[in-house]
Symmetry: C2
Subunit: 387 residues, 2 copies
């Protein structure tokens, strides 16, 4: 046999960070990129340019030569009919189209999670404005409206008090745009995430539960593991994630974003699931430096149906801070300052052009003292933002 | 500014392992490879093919566009006149040709180390057979003869008891081949290595002293840190390495291979220097998984004159086992077995065609119990050899 090739759709930083893992394992990586300058295209030798929705670029991606061992993703925006064509060619698609729909369509996700008994916020499909007004009455006058498809990083999410606040989305939906759903605005204590990987054989490994800190709907900071985590909350979070993984038959990495909710009585759910991602996820970037096996290596192992790696932490605490936008022309301009300020900070830059609020890189710092580690990660990220 | 590009001569596994480090730091990598299928060519986007001795491939490598920020190496086999041309173009060569000669020419190395007062075995240049016979008399009848240039991994090294044992080398030397030197066969306790990095500003950081275990002149295993290391030996080893680094004005990673010798009295040297390498080195592969900063990241930082990273260990013990040859057609065939047997083993494959005794990959295992870690690293390497 020769080394297997993993085909990946999407040329951003997630595919970029699969590259070191593929290099170490000696497996090939072939990435379908949006253009020749993307984060992944800069560091992946075999990186054809094409639009996945067009279909034939994906077929070419898996047929090679050599034929790819598996097709996987760094984002969920791939039409099911394209995945069906790949499956017809005999190349496994992992996660499968049937699993992936739960990360593509929030209505499909809520339906399935509700059926599986996974704790969710109260929610409703919104066929019309009347449905939203009825839901607002039910949940006390305020709700979160989401587009079922196409949202990410706070986009496609709006907190509303009346149907009038989302008339544009109703109009778009009537015009063939994404369907809408409403969710109760959960009074949460904090946000948690459970990251796991699952292989086709069913082997499943979770990393420790982490706390995520958002800024304007975008992940800004991850504390690993989540500090002062109530064992009951931890158990509930892991159980919910495993139920999702098995219930939708995920293969590869799954990130389950959750709200921790206050204890209000015995038997009540302590977490509710917010979002799913079926790929390496920002809440798992800390694993590159902070865990024995990174989410990128684990994703490759899982989709290749190889035995999964140890998910233990390598230090008591690891904090990951995102670099969201920068005043610098190029983030490497800050390397002398950031590396000089903290010789133990692990800097990851994505090679992306600077734009306001854009995810341009991240920094991880590990150590014994959470407050110190958190301060240092934030300071390093600030230097990379040009502050 | 745009991201700097590091130009590297040599397309083997050492350049390959620079790639993940360059990806994380967001710096460019441009590698001059021997052919398009080498270990590095498989994973480096910008990898022109050419012979460094021809000169113009190296000039093209640094001129780009864009012009490289620095030229460095994964091996020492580059003629000085080629490096001089690069320096004339205004591109720094790190390590410089003046430093590099001490890793290219063992006679230049022994002269310089002797002048610096660095502990060396007794040695002699061998202009003729009579010089060898005289040296054999001096050291008790047995000596190690080496070719001054071109040797590596046990090649160009022969243990002799008479000039007759190396008549072929004397003939080659007379015919324009490499000059010869003889060294005392040191009665050593074990082999140690000190790895450090130094930047042009003079900042220098050492990793912990390691023990290296050789098989047939090739590094087979590295124990990090060296177990049961006498503090006096440690001090002597680090001092010798720092004296070399400063004395020859190294930039980048320097590996100093040493023999630990028995204590025979107060004031005696406890180590003698065996070999130098001015690049990432096999004795430092453990740093990828076992240290906060890997030798590959540190080499890039050092040659770019960026602040150096923390060299602390990430676990009490890390053992690296080389995969030297294999009965398998492709090493990835063993991934199910090796990853299944030890979920915490970190496997690094080089994508090289299998040949007897060839360095095809390595495995690192970290933990609290040296015997356990050592056994596991050896077991994983054995599976990759097809045993």
């Amino acid at each position: 046999m020769t080394a297997p090739v993993v085909a990946v759709i999407g040329g951003g930083q997630l595919a970029r960070m699969m590259s070191p893992a593929a290099t170490a394992l000696g497996v090939g990586l072939r990435v379908l990129v949006e253009d020749s300058g993307t984060a992944a295209a800069q560091v992946v030798v075999d990186a054809p340019v094409g639009r996945p929705a067009a279909g034939s670029p994906v077929v070419d991606l898996v047929t090679g030569p050599p034929t790819a061992a598996v097709l996987t993703f760094e984002h969920e925006h791939v039409p099911p009919h394209v995945l069906a064509r790949v499956a017809e060619l005999g190349v496994p698609v992992r996660p499968s189209a049937d699993a992936l729909v739960h990360a593509q369509d929030k209505i499909a996700m809520r339906r399935r999670l509700s059926a599986l008994g996974v704790p969710c916020p109260r929610w409703a499909e919104l066929p019309d404005e009347a449905a939203l007004e009825a839901f607002l009455d039910e949940v006390g006058g305020e709700a979160v409206v989401k587009t079922a498809r196409g949202g990410y990083d706070g986009k496609g999410v709006r907190v509303v008090r009346a149907a009038a606040d989302v008339l544009d989305w109703f109009a778009a939906a009537a015009d063939g745009g994404p369907a809408l759903l409403a969710e109760e605005k959960v009074p949460f204590v904090r946000e948690l995430a459970v990251l796991l990987a699952r292989r086709p054989s069913g082997e499943c490994r979770t990393w420790p539960v982490v706390e995520t800190v958002q800024q304007g709907g975008v992940c800004a900071e991850v504390l690993a593991p989540a500090p002062d985590l109530d064992p009951e909350v931890e158990r509930a979070a892991v159980e919910a994630a495993l139920r999702v993984a098995e219930g939708v038959d995920v293969t590869g990495v799954l990130a389950v974003e959750m709200f921790e909710v206050p204890a209000s009585g015995p038997g009540d759910a302590r977490v509710v699931v917010n979002e799913l991602a079926m790929r390496p996820h920002n809440s798992g970037h800390w694993t590159i430096d902070g865990a024995v096996t990174s989410q990128f290596e684990q994703h490759l192992r899982a989709v290749l149906d190889l035995p999964l790696g140890d998910t233990a932490v390598r230090a008591p605490w690891t904090v990951m801070a995102n670099v969201l936008g920068s005043t610098l022309e190029d983030l490497t301009d800050a390397l002398p300052a950031v590396l000089g300020a903290d010789p133990a900070a692990k800097v990851h830059l994505y090679g992306k052009e600077v734009r306001p609020g854009r995810k341009l890189g991240h920094v991880s710092v590990s150590g014994d003292d959470l407050a110190d580690v958190r301060r240092r990660a934030a300071a390093a990220a600030a230097l990379l933002r040009g502050e």
